[in-house]
């Protein structure tokens, strides 16, 4: 099973600026000078082993869109944030054996999770089938609304694909593209839903835009059960713990600390921090990741928990 991240940023897409690129170049060259890099061979080795991810790469800036490969001639994707544009282009470039079938699973319909759809090329493709699954009764309304005049030039009714909306209920399980899919209600303004995907003994949980209040142990236990024995949990780690219990309390997001604690309680193998704060640059995200790795080490009681910070283009094989 492969999970591919097309958008990992929270709330609003962000882009690297020319100042950001210049900073990366300066950092890389200064380190290269210090390391005595003076040949093409040394350069490759230097890039591969000496440069940190935040200098040699970027975490990216697209809002949430995560694909789970199905091993069937159809697609499965969580949310349609701005990352959906690139995902759609890939779908268009890989058309084999007829128009694509795309299963979308929606956490909720806040703008950062639907804004990629007007630029999702398969929506304009005659014969393509797009099934949009979700637990909100305003699901279809939200998709139609964002393409209404005067906000967008192409009305939803003019999209060429066959688009179906499929209502799901939290707590029930469904078969979607060969996966057993179980939604769970999460704490977020207007509600959001996490999804547990199971197939062939592998478990992936997509749990974004979810605040954990810590005051009700039953609520915590419910999420621990939802995450139980997962191979991968994609977790909203947008804020610091301090923020979630002070200035950003009730903003509907969680922290790296709570993610690690819950993953440890649930015997999760891999925790992937997701929905990065848009004001964080690459250095800051890497620094939060390093602190989280340290926190896991300090609090480890059983086997180590693998922890990563999601980036646009990241692939995880399970």
């Amino acid at each position: 099973m492969r999970v591919r991240f097309w958008g990992t940023r929270g709330s609003i897409p962000v882009a690297l600026t020319s100042a950001d690129i210049r900073y990366k170049i300066e950092q890389a060259l200064a380190l290269a000078i210090a390391k005595g890099v003076d040949s093409a061979e040394k350069l490759q080795n230097f890039i591969e082993h000496d440069l940190g991810f935040s200098i040699s790469h970027t975490y990216g800036g697209h809002s949430p869109c995560v694909e789970i490969e199905t091993e069937r001639p159809e697609y499965l994707v969580c949310d349609l944030g701005s990352g959906a544009r690139a995902f759609g282009n890939r779908v268009m470039s890989r058309q084999e054996g007829g128009p694509p079938v795309i299963n979308v699973i929606m956490s909720h319909v806040h703008w950062d999770h639907i804004m990629g759809f007007p630029f999702f090329a398969p929506a304009y493709l005659p014969g393509a089938l797009i099934r949009i699954h979700g637990c909100h009764d305003v699901l279809e309304q939200a998709f139609r609304l964002q393409q209404s005049a005067p906000c967008f030039p192409v009305d939803f009714s003019r999209l060429a694909a066959d688009i179906e909306f499929v209502q799901l209920r939290a707590g029930s399980s469904y078969d979607v593209a060969g996966f057993k899919v179980t939604p769970k209600l999460q704490r977020h303004t207007g509600d959001s839903y996490g999804y547990r995907f199971e197939r062939g003994g592998k478990i992936v949980v997509y749990s974004t835009d979810s605040e954990h209040k810590l005051e009700d142990p039953r609520e915590t236990r419910g999420f621990v059960d939802f995450f139980r024995n997962a191979d991968l949990v994609i977790f909203d780690a947008m804020y610091s713990l301090l923020d979630t219990v002070s200035v950003k309390e009730d903003w509907g997001h969680s922290s790296n600390i709570v993610g690690v604690e819950m993953a440890q309680m649930a015997n999760v193998k891999h925790l992937c921090m997701f929905h990065h704060e848009p004001s964080f640059d690459d250095d800051r995200i890497e620094s939060v990741l390093n602190e989280t790795l340290r926190f896991e080490k300090l609090t480890r009681t059983q086997q180590p928990l693998r922890i990563t910070a999601a980036y646009d283009g990241m692939e995880i094989d399970l």
Partner: protein, 125 residues
């Protein structure tokens, strides 16, 4: 949960012990609440002496935050002292050091908060 507490001049020093985690955080919060009520502008200032605390989970940290909010609304001051290295790191990673002033020892905290408290502390040793 019992929280040892001792007055030094005009400063109250609270000394919880063991782990403060999801299993006992509510009990800790209830035990802390009446003690925090004593912390106000005209009342006692407060030192959380964490020398005996091995571990604080997110639920435990939330109790500290609630205590700080309560004290602040009463015009009071809470500081943290004598954290074990693990707890100190957890405070830093969770960013709680941005809210709580921390000191290596209880004596250092008292020295910052009140000359009267420091005098009483030193006299009692």
């Amino acid at each position: 949960m019992d929280i040892r507490n001792k007055i030094h001049g005009d400063v109250l020093v609270l000394s919880p012990e063991g782990r403060i985690d999801h299993a006992n955080s509510e009990e800790f919060r209830q035990a802390l609440k009446p003690l925090i009520e004593r912390c106000s502008e005209k009342g006692e200032r407060l030192v959380l002496d964490l020398a005996g605390v091995d571990y604080v989970s997110s639920a435990g940290l939330r109790c500290f935050m609630l205590a700080e909010k309560q004290a602040k609304s009463q015009g009071g001051t809470i500081v943290v002292a004598a954290m074990q290295p693990v707890v100190n790191e957890i405070f830093q990673i969770s960013r709680f050091t941005l809210v709580f002033e921390t000191f290596p020892t209880v004596r250092d905290a008292l020295a910052k908060l009140s000359p009267t408290a420091l005098k009483a502390f030193d006299a009692a040793r």
